[in-house]
Point group: C2
Chain length 135, copies 2
DNA sequence: CTTTGTGCAAATTCTTTGCACCAAA
DNA sequence: TTTGGTGCAAAGAATTTGCACAAAG
């Protein structure tokens, strides 16, 4: 599906900048920070400002089109894959991996008196394979 | 157990400030921010500095004595309860609740090729009971 | 003594805000 | 033409750093 149609599904008016950001998120599934997105797009769009990246991602999150991940204490990270999956953050290299092959039960929203649960976030941390070999 | 003995278990040398911070975290299980901890303790310890709170909590996290929660995008929050439990953050009032009565399976560390999992963080968000009634 | 912790001020980093200009319907 | 989007500069907030003094063993 074309990206501007995809954005409309979330009630987001497409613009050149918004389309470029979503395109980036969907192409490079690296859970990028604002800075990484800006650094990548900036050469192609010389007038692009970081404020627009902030505006765009805040809008995307508000509309439910992307997830803001809390896995990195320093910077906000974003993920355009809104299906059920967990994340693993390597304490050594800082890379964030997707974990798709987990039981769906882990993402169930428990029925709890007094809580209306909308979202579930499951995060693991530890050492990744490539860092483990190094030491 | 006395707090300074508890700290020693984590290889943390007790000091007046460190003991006070751990005491606060264990007494008020409110997942406080750095600022909240500082504001509470400051009247009792007039020379206390916020830098010391930062130093102390970074040390506690490094030694595994407290958890740094990523559930609040704005500020880091801390929890001295390192047992398996999840958190719920109300999107409306911002309060963070503990969820203890969940299945232990949710906190299992999956065996995955190439990942050495140390920690599990499970967070929910939505609307809490007291906010739901208001609207 | 010697090592380690504390606390002030300054620096850094991340994010938001105010506002003028631009673009699209 | 009118509404909404973009982008610059400045402001704001959270955290870290450098360094001198204090405390503890």
């Amino acid at each position: 599906m074309q990206i501007h149609h995809y954005l409309k599904q979330f009630d987001i008016k497409p613009s050149v900048q918004r389309t470029a950001v979503m395109d980036y998120l969907m192409s490079y599934k690296t859970h990028p920070t604002i800075d990484e997105i800006y650094s990548y797009l900036s050469p192609f769009m010389p007038t692009l400002s970081k404020t627009t990246i902030y505006n765009t991602l805040n809008l995307f999150v508000e509309k439910g089109a992307v997830l803001q991940l809390a896995i990195d204490e320093k910077n906000a990270r974003y993920d355009a894959d809104i299906s059920n999956h967990a994340h693993f953050k390597c304490k050594n290299c800082g890379k964030v991996y997707d974990l798709f092959d987990l039981k769906q039960e882990l993402f169930a929203k428990p029925m709890l008196e007094g809580f209306d649960i909308h979202t579930v976030e499951l995060s693991y941390s530890g050492i990744c394979g490539s860092c483990k070999g190094m030491n």
